[in-house]
Symmetry: C2
Subunit: 339 residues, 2 copies
C-alpha cells in the first residue's frame, strides 16, 4: 500500500510507492571505464585552471604548481561572479538582481583515478577543512547571504568533470529551500516546543533505530522518514550546531570517518551510484540566530524527476527508507577489495 509521508522540516510530502519497491540490485550502477587520466584538475596541470584561490601544499612549493593535496580554483564558467555591483531592478511584476556571488571548485586530490570513498580518511578531513576555510573566507563579504557547499558525482548526478571535486556557490540571497525550512519547520517547531526540530529528529531516529545507518562520536547517519530518493542519507551533528563554519577539529575528524564510511557503503550496495552531497547550513550575514541545525544530505540519483515531481513537488520513492537503512547497516566490505 502506497504511503504519503511529510517532511516535518520542509513540509514537503513524498510518496513511498510500495507497488514499485526497488532493492539495491534493481539500481546497481556499473562502474564505467574511466576515460581520462590527465585533466586540468590533475597534479602537473595547474596551468590549465584559473589561478588558484587557496591550496594545501608542501612548504616551499609555488602557487599553481604541483605539491598540493587539496586545491580550490574559481569555476571556469561561474554561475555567479564576485566583481559586480549588487543592483536590483523591477519591471512590472518582475524582479531582477545582478548575479553577485562566487563559484569555486575544490579539487579533492591531484590523482585522477580516485573516487571519494577511496580517499584515506585523513584526506577527507583535509577536504572538510577546505570546505570550512573557503566558507569562512567567503562569509566576510557582507553581500553574501548563503554559502552552498556541494558535490556532484556521476553523469546522472550532474558531474561534467570526472576528476573528483566539490563545489561552492555563494549567493546574495537566502535560498528558498532554506527559507522554507526555517519558515515551515524550524521556527514554528521552536515556538511551539522550545526545541530544535533536528535535535528531536536525531533523538527519535536513535530511539526508533529502523532508519539508523551509523553513528560516530559527534554525528549520526540515517535515512530520513520522508526520503525523496532511494537510499537518501542524512548526516547530522548530535549536538545543536547552527553554522557549518564553526565546526571544530574534533568534529571534522568524526565527520570525515562517518562521511567516508557512508559513501563507501552506498557504493558497496549500489555499485557506483551517481549522487549529490549537499551541506545545509545557516544563512550568513543576517541579523539574529536563525535556529538552523547544519547537516549533510546525500541524494543518490537513481530515479528521475519528471512531470509529476515538477508539477506537485511530491517525490515518488520506490525504496522505503527503513529498507534502505537496513541494507546500509548490514553492508559489509567484500573480502577482497581491488584498489
Amino acid at each position: 500500500m502506497p504511503e504519503l509521508r511529510r517532511n516535518p522540516v520542509t513540509d514537503q510530502w513524498v510518496i513511498i510507492a510500495a507497488e514499485r519497491v526497488k532493492r539495491p540490485h534493481d539500481f546497481r550502477v556499473p562502474r564505467e571505464e574511466r576515460r581520462h587520466t590527465a585533466c586540468p584538475f590533475c597534479g602537473g596541470h595547474e596551468e590549465e585552471t584559473p589561478p588558484e584561490i587557496w591550496a594545501y601544499r608542501l612548504h616551499g612549493t609555488a602557487k599553481n604548481s604541483p605539491g598540493w593535496w587539496v586545491r580550490t580554483v574559481p569555476n571556469k564558467y561561474p554561475a555567479l561572479t564576485i566583481d559586480d555591483l549588487l543592483a536590483e531592478k523591477h519591471q512590472g511584476i518582475y524582479q531582477t538582481m545582478s548575479g553577485v556571488g562566487a563559484h569555486e571548485v575544490i579539487i579533492e586530490t591531484p590523482r585522477h583515478l580516485v573516487d571519494f570513498e577511496e580517499h584515506p580518511v585523513e584526506q577527507v578531513e583535509e577536504i572538510i577543512r577546505m570546505w570550512r576555510d573557503r566558507y569562512c573566507d567567503l562569509r566576510k563579504d557582507p553581500r553574501i547571504r548563503y554559502i552552498q557547499i556541494f558535490k556532484n558525482h556521476g553523469l546522472e548526478g550532474g558531474a561534467s568533470i570526472e576528476h573528483t571535486h566539490c563545489q561552492l556557490i555563494a549567493t546574495p540571497r537566502v535560498p528558498k529551500s532554506i527559507e522554507d525550512e526555517l519558515a515551515h519547520g524550524i521556527r514554528p517547531y521552536r515556538e511551539e516546543t522550545g526545541r530544535c526540530i533536528f535535535c528531536d529528529m536525531v533523538s527519535q531516529e536513535k530511539y526508533a533505530r529502523e532508519r539508523m545507518v551509523l553513528e560516530a562520536e559527534h554525528f549520526v547517519a540515517f535515512c530520513p522518514h520522508a526520503s525523496r530518493f532511494p537510499f537518501e542519507t542524512w548526516i547530522i551533528p548530535k549536538r545543536h550546531r547552527e553554522d557549518f563554519g564553526a565546526i571544530s577539529e574534533y568534529e571534522i575528524k568524526s565527520l570525515a570517518w562517518l562521511l567516508r564510511e557512508v559513501i563507501e557503503r552506498l557504493a558497496r550496495a549500489l555499485g557506483n551510484p551517481p549522487y549529490n552531497l549537499i551541506v545545509h547550513t545557516s544563512p550568513v550575514n543576517t541579523a539574529a540566530d536563525s535556529g538552523y541545525h547544519w547537516h549533510i544530505e546525500i541524494l543518490p540519483r537513481l530515479t528521475r524527476m519528471a512531470g509529476f515531481e515538477f508539477g506537485t513537488d511530491y517525490f515518488i520513492n520506490p525504496t522505503p527508507p527503513e529498507m534502505a537503512a537496513r541494507y546500509l547497516r548490514e553492508s559489509k566490505p567484500p573480502e577482497l577489495r581491488p584498489h
Copy 2:
C-alpha cells in the same frame, strides 16, 4: 553578467548564467532509432494493459479491443491507488497518510511510431478532451484534492515507455507547489491589486513581446521571465480561467493548435528534446474559489538538476528566455519534412 530573476508566482529565483550561454545547437538531441514497434500500448495489444477505464472508440467495438483512438488505462505500477481508506498517522514529529488517489495512463494513439507533434491537430483535440473527461470524472471522488495531468517525453524526461502517452495522478492533498503559488504569488497579489497575477503576466508579456512565442485565439505561449530550463514555455488562457476542467470546446480547438505548434517548434529547434508537459490548475473539492489561473508548463530537460539546485531550489539556466523565445518565434518548417 549573470542575473538572478524572481518568479513572482512561486517566489523561486533562477540564475540566468550569462557566462555559459547556450543556443539551440548546443543542445541538439538526435532522434534515437525507435526500438519497438509493438508494445502493450499499441492497437491490437489491448489485453496486455490493465482493463481500460475510458476510450474514444468506433461505435460497436468492444472494450479492450482495437477500434479506439485515445485510450485510458490504470498505471500498472500505480504511485497511488483508489481502493484505500484515507487514514492519517502521527509518530513523534512525523506524519503519514495512506496513499489514496489514482494513477492513470492516457495512450494518445494506437500507432507506435508517432510523437506528439506528429499527431494531426484533431487528434490533439481528442487528447485534450480525454484529459478533461478523466479530470472531471476523478474530481467526483471527494477524497481527491488535486489532479495532476502531465506528459514525460524521452529518457531524460523520465519516460520509461516509448509509445507516446500522458499520465494523470490524483492526490489526496493539495501539492506544495500549488500551495506555494497560491500563498506566495496569487493571493498576496490579489489582495494588493485586486487582480490575477497570471492575467497581468499575460498583459505584460504581450506588451513586452521579447519573450512571446505564439498567440492563438484563446491562448498565448511565451518563455517565462524566470525560466528554470532552457526553452521553458508556458501556455496560458488569455481570459481568467481557474479550473482546467471547465475548458470549452472553442478553447480545446484553440489550445490543440497552439500546443501542437509549440511542441513542433521545440522539436525543430532542438531535434528531439526530452521534456515534461505539466498542467497546473486549481485544487478540487476545496471550499472557496482559489484565484488560480490554469496553464500549461513545458519544461525541456536539456540541463541536469544537481547539488546546487537541490540545496538551494535555485535553478541555473544557461539560455536567457528572450533568446529562446526569439528562436521559437523564428522557427520555420523545413522545406521537406519526412513523415
